[in-house]
Amino acid sequence: MKPKLSAQELYIHRQKKRTVQIHIARSLILLLFLVLWEAAADLGIIDSFIFSSPSRVVRCFYDMLRTERLLFHIGITLFETLASFTLVLLFTLFITTCLWLNDRISKTLEPYLVVLNSLPKSALAPLLIVWLGGNYKTIIITGMSVAIFGSILSLYTAFTETDSEKIKLVKTLGGGRKDILLRVMLPGNIPSLLSIMKVNIGLCLVGVIIGEFIAAKVGLGYLIIYGSQVFKLDWVIMSILVLCIIAMGLYQCINQAEKRYLKKI
């Protein structure tokens, strides 16, 4: 006979079942998509030369690992993305702190930041490349240019929305601006910073790919552009799929960090 479950156990049981169901459904969608794609290509419903197919993508992946140093391309794109992400983070912290320390400067600069942020950043990329040359530093800067302005604006808003009473408390305890910054502003805004970082990692990847489109000789962005020019569409689609996996992986890293932090609190 089954042992009787308490209400709490029943609740947990139901919740767990729900999560499992959602995971299964998600995997099924992916599987169905791949099967349909493969079948459509096999049966000639779509032209596999243009639309490729899962099996062609996998074959292409293995071939390119050997012949085209695919891992090197992936590594370069990953490195450029992480570098621009890290730099955006550091610059955001530094510039936002400066802005927060000087109210008048921040008010003065605000419209400029807003304009730079709403500008489509891909418009800047060609200019950057002419100015700075087609090397990996330029591509890192292109990646940064996409994320940094929004990042500063968001963190600055979070800073200004910090409870003024908390600042007052630090003052009553004899603290100055340094204490307010280190003991209220920064630790208190870590949740906002984490969600800003989640947005930034995606934007940096976008920026890096734009940069590689225009100026690079290596990287996934380069493979996509080159592949489309010589009509090796397997390359293009394979690279895009690799990009999907990278984007998801990077996002998940920060997501996990955020979860762990919130749990600790």
């Binding site: 009473e165 630090v170 003052k171 009553t172 305890l173 004899g174 204490d179 003991r183 630790p187």
Partner: protein, 258 residues
């Protein structure tokens, strides 16, 4: 005897683009060392503003605040313990680290001060919660933690803004009795803002009654109950009722005017 704290003709208004809010007008009083002043007045009459002025967080528009013979400065703030109306415990710190915040800021964190903090946690029944986050505590516990955060700095002058308002009535009686006794034992000078007339009378050596809009001193009533009694015991004195009625009348006339 030289007063330790003296407020001379203080005026203060809050300014914004939409207008001026006069908060305090012509405040004059003196406080001797070791004296306990209770401040009562209707909501919005400027009690919190008065404490902020004394603590030096805001500067009076006119008038002077003199502490031990000199004007209040930023550095005198370290000698005052200001307990704000709300606890403002930081969610990203444990209770113990919240309590050590002032010591960290003033760079006074050492083995002795840490041990003193633990002793206070013990005294106020929060030892078991030292490693918990503020959100895991009840309102009363949070307020006790905020009080410890103030006391652990061993301030010379205590400024308490409705420190017991989040406690239930019984705990409130007990905690205010404890704190009243501690402050008296350690011969600290203190200013207590409260809404509770009985609390004001039982804890204070003087009761300052403020009127509304802008806050003016209505009267200062010296309380001459036996100093050796604890706040709880004072509530049983015969004179207690007389004082209560006296201050209550001041309050009533206050309401009638506005």
């Amino acid at each position: 005897m030289e007063p330790i704290l003296e407020c001379k003709n203080i005026n203060y208004s809050y300014h914004s683009m939409t207008g001026e809010t006069p908060a305090l007008s012509d405040i004059n009083f003196k406080l001797n060392k070791g004296e306990f002043l209770s401040v009562v007045g209707p909501s919005g009459c400027g009690k919190s503003t008065l404490l902020s002025l004394i603590c030096g967080l805001i500067a009076p528009e006119s008038g002077e605040i003199i502490y031990e013979g000199t004007n209040i400065t930023e550095s005198s703030r370290q000698r005052f313990g200001y307990m704000l109306q709300k606890d403002h415990l930081f969610e990203w710190r444990t209770i113990r680290r919240n309590i050590l915040l002032g010591l960290e800021i003033q760079k006074k964190l050492s083995r002795e001060t840490g041990a003193y903090a633990d002793k206070l946690l013990e005294t106020y029944g929060l030892s078991a919660f030292a490693q918990k986050r503020p959100s895991e505590l009840s309102g009363g516990m949070r307020q006790r933690a905020a009080l410890i955060r103030t006391l652990v700095l061993k301030p010379e002058l205590l400024l308490l803004d409705e420190p017991f308002s989040a406690l239930d009535y019984q705990t409130r009686l007990k905690v205010s009795d404890d704190i009243g006794t501690i402050i008296r034992q350690e011969k600290k000078t203190a200013i207590l803002v409260t809404h509770d007339l009985s609390e004001a009378i039982s804890m204070g050596d003087k009761v300052l009654v403020l009127s509304k809009h802008p806050g003016k001193i209505k009267t200062i009533v010296p309380i001459s109950l036996d100093k050796n009694l604890s706040p709880l015991e004072k509530r049983n004195c015969d004179e207690f009722k007389t004082y209560f009625n006296l201050i209550w009348k001041e309050f009533e006339s206050n309401e009638a005017e506005t």
